[in-house]
Each structure stands twice: as structure tokens, then as C-alpha cells.
Subunit: 346 residues, 4 copies
């Protein structure tokens, strides 16, 4: 029985962890951390958990938790995990951090984009970026996982193979992303009220969104050269789902079959990545509630560009699902254990 503690259990990602872990019989959640709801029944906050979770919310005490849990998930705002973690804790338990604290290897870049001082830079090197399909080997033995951001997961998986194989110009990449509103979190902000989001779409964080350096870092590893790109997220009136539409210049003429072969080379044996059939566009409705990422591409011969598309559930593969996938790898379990969820439609 794997004992799990969750810090930040009453955000959307935290509650999604609960959903995924409750359906397993080899996992026990021993700590529902939520500073905002201490001593309140978890199922009073998330009514879907009535009769399924009896526990009350607890404070964010990572020291205490380290003694109880085999693994701690932190689904908290940036900065919290870095401020709590220490060698003593890491010697006792594993940590999977869903925040951005350990995703970026260069502290200065982190501090510039996040406007925060990093409280534990000594663990950045050790932390493994938990994009499972790419860093599987390192994840296996990690103590500290930096669980990827939602946009970076979808963007990287959609673009990675073409960049790695040198098919596209690394300086030409533009990512236009669209996310459901759960990505904006559960905080009570006027901008996220139903009437403000419904019947509207907008870009936000244009040229300054904090997932930009994370995507650039991962794609730079693929390209073997420093990648700088444009990333523009948009808010869509739906609960879940991320779609990315990425554009890049093809280095030379390629056929559909050639590009398809490249995607297949990387993903043929990946359970969670589905390369769709020719001309079928990824749609978020086909992945809702699941850990799948659907990817596809279209070559535009007129302009010499390729359009790469990816769709996934931002709360699953973009957060809690990938965190569980990381946990599975770290504990030597089947990677898709508890994650063979059929997408919910409609």
C-alpha cells in the first residue's frame, strides 16, 4: 500500500489527484492538505467525494507528512514547495511537485519569470522534469519530481519529435494555445466568474506567460540549440482541456508519410500518446478525464510550414494524471496503472 499525502488538495489539480487515487486499491491517501479549509470535511468542499472520502482537511505540514507518507504531492502555488522541502524530508519520502518550483534549471530564469526568490535552489539540479515519455529513465530513481506544466506538456509532446529529428527550424516556432477554465484555478476572482468567461474567448499573458521558458528549455534539449518561441495562451469557455496549435517552418520538403514515421518512431509504443489518422484534428472532447494526449499535424506546402496540434485534459495529463504516472514509474509499477481511463464523452 503506497501512502500518499497531498498538499493543496482542494485546488482543481489536488482534487483531481484524489479522484485518480481513490480508484486504486494499492494507494491510500493519508493527508488531505488544504490551508484554506483546515478541519473542514473534504467532501464538504468537493461534493463529488461524499461517501467516498471521510477525512478532514489538514494544514500544510510537510515535516509531519514526511513521516507518514511514501510520496507527497504538492499541488500548490509557486514557491510553496521550494519553501518547505529540505534534505531531511527528501531522505524520508519522495516528492512530486505540481508547481513550477523545480521545472526550470536556471534559477535566474525562474526568478525573472515568476517574480519570486527561489528558496531551495540546491535541489534544482537533482529534480527530474517529469515528462514521462521523455525522461522515463531518470524519473525511476528520482527523489524529487518537477511535474510539468499543462501547456508545456502538450506543447512539448506535440513538437518534440520533429525538432529532435531536425525537420523544423527551431527559430520559427509559434505556439497558439487554448485552455479550459479549470487551468485558471479555483480562486474567487471576478475574471473567472461564469458570466465573465462564458460566451467569450481572449488571449492572456501575451509574450509574458510563465510557461514560455519551460517550453523553451524542453524544446532546446530536443533541438540541441537554444530555442526561443512565441507562446500565446487563450481562455476558452469550457471546464477542461488544452489544445495547442503550433506552427514551424519545415527545413525542407517532406511528405506526410515521412513526418508520420517520425511521430510513430517516438510514440508508437507510448500508451498515452495517440497519433491520430491523417487529417483528423485533435479535439479536447476526445480526451476529457483521461491521461491521453492526441497529436497530429498538417503540412502546408504553399507556405512551407507544418502545423502541429495536440489535445489533452489539462487536469489529467496536464497535472494530476501525469503526477500519478510519475508515481507509478518511481514505485516500479506499471506506468499506466490506475490511468487506463476511457475519456468521458459527451
Amino acid at each position: 500500500m503506497i501512502k500518499v499525502g497531498i498538499i493543496g488538495a482542494t485546488g482543481y489539480a489536488g482534487a483531481e489527484l484524489v479522484r485518480l487515487l481513490l480508484m486504486r486499491d494499492d494507494v491510500e491517501i493519508v493527508w488531505y492538505g488544504s490551508r484554506s479549509y483546515i478541519d473542514k470535511k473534504f467532501s464538504d468542499v468537493f461534493g463529488n467525494m461524499v461517501k467516498l472520502v471521510d477525512a478532514k482537511c489538514m494544514d500544510d505540514n510537510m515535516e509531519a507528512l514526511a513521516d507518514m507518507a511514501d510520496v507527497i504531492f504538492t499541488a500548490t502555488p509557486q514557491g510553496l514547495c521550494a519553501s518547505l522541502v529540505n534534505e531531511n524530508i527528501l531522505s524520508k519520502t519522495k516528492i512530486i511537485d505540481l508547481s513550477a518550483d523545480f521545472r526550470i534549471k536556471d534559477v535566474a530564469t525562474y526568478e525573472e519569470w515568476y517574480k519570486l526568490e527561489h528558496k531551495s535552489p540546491q535541489f534544482i539540479d537533482e529534480a527530474v522534469y517529469g515528462l514521462c515519455e521523455i525522461n522515463r529513465a531518470d524519473i525511476k530513481n528520482a527523489r524529487l519530481i518537477a511535474n510539468p506544466g499543462c501547456y508545456p506538456t502538450c506543447s512539448t509532446l506535440s513538437i518534440y519529435p520533429l525538432l529532435k529529428e531536425g525537420l523544423i527550424d527551431p527559430h520559427s516556432i509559434i505556439i497558439d494555445a487554448k485552455s479550459g477554465t479549470s487551468g485558471a484555478g479555483r480562486g474567487a476572482k471576478t475574471d473567472n466568474l461564469f458570466c465573465e468567461v462564458n460566451e467569450s474567448i481572449k488571449a492572456y499573458g501575451v509574450a509574458v506567460h510563465r510557461h514560455t521558458p519551460e517550453i523553451e528549455e524542453q524544446l532546446s534539449y530536443a533541438a540541441g540549440t537554444k530555442v526561443m518561441l512565441n507562446f500565446t495562451p487563450h481562455l476558452v469557455p469550457m471546464n477542461r482541456g488544452i489544445l495547442i496549435t503550433a506552427y514551424a517552418n519545415l527545413k525542407e520538403k517532406v511528405t506526410y508519410e515521412q513526418v508520420k514515421a517520425v511521430y510513430d518512431k517516438y510514440y508508437e509504443n507510448e500508451y498515452f500518446v495517440r497519433v491520430l489518422e491523417k487529417d483528423v484534428c485533435p479535439q479536447t472532447r476526445w480526451v476529457e478525464g483521461s491521461n491521453f494526449v492526441d497529436v497530429n499535424f498538417k503540412i502546408d506546402e504553399r507556405t512551407g510550414r507544418i502545423i502541429m496540434m495536440g489535445a489533452m485534459d489539462n487536469l489529467v495529463k496536464g497535472a494530476a494524471g501525469q503526477a500519478v504516472q510519475n508515481m507509478n514509474i518511481m514505485f516500479g509499477l506499471e506506468e499506466n496503472k490506475g490511468l487506463k481511463i476511457v475519456p468521458l464523452f459527451p
Copy 2:
């Protein structure tokens, strides 16, 4: 391994059966019936099934299917199951009919409300109304299950205990129901287009909706007297979910505790019925994707009425989930096998 055939697999209820059954390792779907999509890959119609279902759609051949399947689900328009079923088929396999063909014991009532001639009235008596929480014993040995309608399931479970225990006047019942749009089916009708449904709510089928006699029949069994009631369904701009708000005159003054005790008497040991805490109103978001029915009530001392409320997912407990629950009972399995799904939120 239970071999399952589905006739009508490309409607919303049929596809939901596929979703629920794919997650089990003791069930194999051997027939994806869909007259509209014969020879088309099922996953070309339902993109969520890519890499999960490889099969193509087949015709509605119940005779052939009876030789292959241990149980046949018919998720088809009214009249089809009654036109296909016969003694030979029932001698070889079990049938769980998600249409209304065998729900109403009085043929004349069926024919009047459905404007159809019943093609197999000889099986009506034998058919068991598959409202599991109430007819569990009979379901166990049935060959033919009339899987309840979505509105009748939610209405009956919400009202049944109070009527059975004689707390409310059976002639005073009014049910105001609200359903997500998947209840309207997947047919290409202008009225169900996104732009026609979104940003609107309407009543429909006022005083003539075909679930009315089904609800009345079930509640009449509870009351021990003929119940006639008002049932008004409404179309809500959401995919899934049914909420019913029911009103009745209390026969005499009762306390919260007395009514609560009655609900508990019937549902305390029911896995799928959750009687909520005092003053907590059922909401469809807390049951989405699951087989739960959340019920609660409020006494209005001023008017002497009680307001009963129930929420469930119309495609799960209101269709496919209850059908699987019936299958579990019929095959001697744990009743909640494959159905311990945590509701998806948000």
C-alpha cells in the same frame, strides 16, 4: 469473461456502455451494433475510443448476436427491441433493453403514450423493471430487463421512500425535471444544435412526456394506490445530468429527523444512493460520470409541503450505468463492479 453485444452502440447511451465496459477485465464487447455506421470503425465515430476499440460497427442482427453474446444491450429507439426479440433469442442470451419497450406493464398505456404498436406484448409480463435498488431480487433471475428511463430513475428514487412510508399525499405530486442535452440523443436536429440550446432553457413535452406513465406506475407500486402526477421536463445547456425537484403535500407534520430516518431506512446500505446532509442541495456536477444518485429534501412548514430533490448522470445511472448494474446482478457479480467511479469534477 462475459460476452456482451450492444445494439445501438453509436448513440450516447450506447457509447457510454462501451466506456463503462471497456474499463473491465471480465467483460468483452463482441458486437458494436450501429445500423447508421455499418463497417465504419467505431473509433472513427467516437474519437475518445481511438486505440481502445479496434472494431467496426455491425448491423442490428439480434439472432446472430444471440449465439455470440451472454447478454445483449439494446440502446435503440422505442419499438426496435420489441420487434427483434423472440423466445429463441431469450433462451440463449439475456437482454437488457434501454428503450421503453418493456417498462410499462399495460400495453394500452404504452401504445397510447408512445404512438406505437407493441410487437412483443407476450414478454411484457416476464420483463423485470430494472430499478436495481427496488427490484434487486427479481432482476437476479430475469432473462429480460426493462432498463428504467432517466427521468423515472431519478424521480422514483427521490420520492419512493416517502410514498412507501405514507408520508405524502399521492395525489399531490408535481415533478419538475431538468436534463442535460445528451438526453435528447445524437440525432442531427436543428433544435439540438449548439447555438439553439446554449444560453437557453425551456420546458418541453409539458403534460405529455412519455416518461410520465412510467413514473406513475412505479410510484403507484410504492403508494399502493394509483398515482397521477405532473411531470415537466426542461432542457438545460449542459451535456450530462438530471435534476428533479419534486413537490408533495405532507400528510401530517413531520420533523427533519423523521423524514431523514425514512430515507436512511431505504438507502443507508445502498452504494449508489447518497442522502446528503441537511440543507445540502443535490447538484448534477457532483455526480457526473458516476452511477450515484444524490437525494435530499426540505420541509416547508409554511405550506405544509415537502420538496424532494435528486441529481444523477442521465447517461450513467439514467441509462448505461444502471444497465451495467443490472448485468452485475444478473450474473451474480458484485453490484457495483466496474461502477465505483469517482464523479468527474469540474
Copy 3:
């Protein structure tokens, strides 16, 4: 030129007043009151007003405003108008109060349901309940209008004729109401976030909603006897719109034509009330953005009940539109001036 001041201009109802009044050339808005946004440009809060409104938000100073404005609209939380109004102000300007402060004639009832002490009970008698179709004559000469609540407007207009003409039992009325989310206001509450409201429906305020005594009072005038009823509002995932479905026992058998004649008697010459054709159910999509109320009914001979339905835009006829209609009457203008808006669909 009518000079208008708005207190509470940055709530949904206040901003809707701005929308309606900006389209007129006989009205000038001289005060955009909003305590939360003092000195902020109104169009920075409501981006739809860019290039249309140049003004900044002002404090809630009713004394100052009384010297500048011919009429003051208060679109503020309960209690504020009553706390600000006095004889001096009313001697200088007219007030149309969109809150509940002056709607209920019995102070004790107001204080009990609203849990507030009434600060200006001396003006309650004088205040005219601004349901234009019914109190037109009194509105003409009023200084202080109690602009009706959204649910009471829709409920009263749907039921009034039948009660007035004695067709229905006044003790049998049940109103099941459904509202879009703008009715919940623009306050930053978790419960009203997009992800909490979308894909869900719930009842709220069951048996205790504060519009209940207001509806009962108005219907009591119609019935000539004290009416007590059940009123249950529901929150629907859409921006605008209220639908009410009301049930009552018919006192005796009536035909469709008889009931239709009663509705026509009251509404044939009303511009804003549309009695729909037989069997056409009101839908909120057909009234969006307009001041119309669509009503219809269905007789259920089986149960001896009648189902009355009404649909309107909660922010227009349910708030700002009716307030403008009241203003038109008070200033001797054509009642539908500036309100002949074609509903926006889709």
C-alpha cells in the same frame, strides 16, 4: 434631456442600465456610482463601453447626486437605498430602487426574510411597486419606485391573470424557477466561478428564498386573499434568462380558449408581454437582451392542474429594462421608448 444618476453602476444590473440608457438621445448619465471602483474609468471595468463612456466611477453620494439628477437608479445590495434616502432627496429627484428595500409593504416581513433592519420605513407606504403592466397608474406620479425583483416579475406576470379571474386555487401554487448566472451578481465567489456553474444545475434557497414574500404579496392582491406558495429557484449554466414553470389546481374544468381569453384580456395591448401560440413553450433564448416576457400555459386534464410558463431576460425586464420602463412612465414618455429592442439570437 433627462439627467440620470446610477448608484451601483458596476454590478450587472447597473451596467445593463448604462447599456439601455446610452442608446437614447433624450437621456444623459451624469453619475456612474461604484464604491468599489472609485476613480477608475467605467470602461476599464466594462470593456464593452470603450469609446462609449468616458466617465470615471464615483462614490455613492446620494445627496450630491440629488442636485444633479432628475432620477436616481439604485442598483445596490439590499439596505443601501433605505439607508441613504430622505425627504430632502425625494423632494429634489425621483428614485427608482432596484433593490428590495421598498418592495414589501410589511416591514416585519422584510426584516424577517432579509435579516436587516429597515432604515427608512417611513417611505414604504409611499413607494410604488413598479410592475408596470399592473401598477401603471400609480407609477405615473410616484417619487419612489420599488423596482420588482426578477423572479417576482416573471412569476407575477405569468400567474396574475388566472388568479385575478379566479380560475386557479390560490393555495395550490408552486413556482419552480430557473435563472441564468448573472442573477447571482458580480461578486467574486467560488460558487459562481465558471467551473463551478458550468455543466451543473442545482436548486438553492429552497423554501427560504427572499423573493417568496414579494411574489406572495403581489399574488395576494390579485387573489384578494392571502396567498402562500412554494418558490424554488435554480441556477442554470447560462448568462441571462429566467424561466418560471408554475403549477396550480384549476378550480373547475376550463378549455384552452377560455384560458387564452383571460391572458389576452390582460395582455393583448401590452407591448412587452407576448402570449405565445398554443403549445409553444417560452424559451429564454427568444427574449435575450430585450424587455419582453413570453408567457404561455398548458392545461393538464388528467390531473386538473394548469402549468403556467414565463420567460424573460433577468437583467432587462427583470431589472434594468423594467426600471427604464418605470422611468418612461414617470416622465410621461412613451412606455417602450428605448426599449423596442429585438431579442438577440443566437
Copy 4:
């Protein structure tokens, strides 16, 4: 009194024309053409028009209509207007064609992208592309207006100034567009059902969408050189609204102020184009129901690109509103007559 005939009055764009024209007292609609609903009352199809329109739908008889109407709007599928128009008709009346038939000057390009034979190529030269802000002078004297497509209107207005002034590389343009579902029309297709669109986003027509050559043609006029670009539309779960996010390489370093000055040069005196304040992103909710286009931009110094954004209502400025704007110009009226509509929010 301008007499107006509408062919295709029961599509979304046609009905929007009705909405806009009904609110005017200088216009009379003499013909509600709709082949699908001949002899049916228009208000039976569009319930928002009850009591506002009494007329019945008529056949698509352009010859008869030419004798009755001062101007004919064709809001019909591609090919119909070209198949009906002739010199006799054009000698009697003006035509504003909302389809694509006369938008593209090169017949071969039209026929290739639309897979249609053009039936009236002789009128293509004469037809004026009705993008009012740019072709105002020519529109004045036109007999035949090619009313621009929704995506081309939003795209062109957002990019035009920068291209015209030579700030961006014409070969680097990528347009990522997002549209509400009314853009998909009112045809009864499974893909546009509520449950298929809601809670999802997808790209469609990738690299082959038919608005591509139209945008390219207009931007080529601005650039003075042939522009080829990528255009990717997406379907968003909302009724109305288009947002475009466009990317281009800056030819040289520019400041915010320089770019702002360019936009102001073109749009300062345009009633319908609102250049937003620095860092304010256009959102479709702020333009709903109105003829406004909100535009803005963001310079990304890191990548040397500029991101241009535009938001408008696809049915108003993207179709019916611009058509009315064209009519106003053609008849020598104030250009914004009947179009000074305050956007509806929420």
C-alpha cells in the same frame, strides 16, 4: 423608406439582418426569403420575432424581388447569388451578397478553393469588396457588394495597418482564429450538436479553409506584394464571436508608441474600430451584438515578432452588421446609422 429583400432570411446571418433592420424606421423588409420554410411564418422559425414580424417566408425569386426592393441581401450558401444575378436585376436594384461569390477577383482561385463553377464571372470585376473601413469610396457607387467573410474582416482589419506601413514581413504572417459556433451555420449536422461542441475546442479546415485566399488577396493589396500565409480556424463552444491572434516578424525594432501611432493613423476616426489601451487584450464578450472590432497588439522583443489581436461579433461586423454598414454607405446615410449598438454583456 428603403425597401429591403433578404434571400436566406432563416440562416443565422439572415436573421441577424432582420434584427438589425427591424430596429430602424427608415427601412422596410419586404421579402423574407427562405426556400426551406416557404409559407411558414418567420416568427415560427425565429421565436425572438414574435409580435415583431408578421410575414411569411417566401421563395428565392430574385427577379420578382428586384422590382420590389431597393436593395437585396443574399445570405445564402456559396454559388446561389452568382447563379441568380444578372444585368436586368442589377439595373433595378442593389445587391449586397454575404456569400463568397464575388469576393475573390481571380475566378480560378475561387473555383479551386470553393470547388464550384462560378456562374457569373462577368460581374466579378464590378463587384466591390465591402470592407467599409478600407473601400469606403468605391462602395458608395457600387451596384454589387461582396460582403467580406467573417474571418477575413477580423484578420484584415487587425493586420492591415502594419502591412500597409511596411512594419512587418509579409511572408511571415500566421493567423490563428477562433470562432463561435454560429459561424458553422444553422444546418442540422451531428458535428454541430450541443453535446459535440460544448466542452471542446478543435481546429478545422487546417491549411485548406476557404477564407485563406480572401485574406491573402486583401493583405496583398496592403503589402503591395503577393502575401501567402497560414490561417487556422478553431471552433469554440460559444454562440457568437471571432478572435484572431496573428503573428508576424517585425522588419525592424519598433516601440509600442510607433506601432500604436500606425493603428491610430488608420482607425482614430473609425467609429467601429476600437484600438484598445496598452496591454488590454481584445475579448469577444466586449463586442457581442455590436458592429465593433476591438484590436490591439503586443511586441515580443525576445523573438522580434509582433502579436496582433482582433475581436468582433461574427454575425454583426462579420456578416449582417457590415452588410448594413455597406447599405448605409450606398444610400448616402450616416455610416453607423442603426448600428450604434452597445455590446451586450454578460
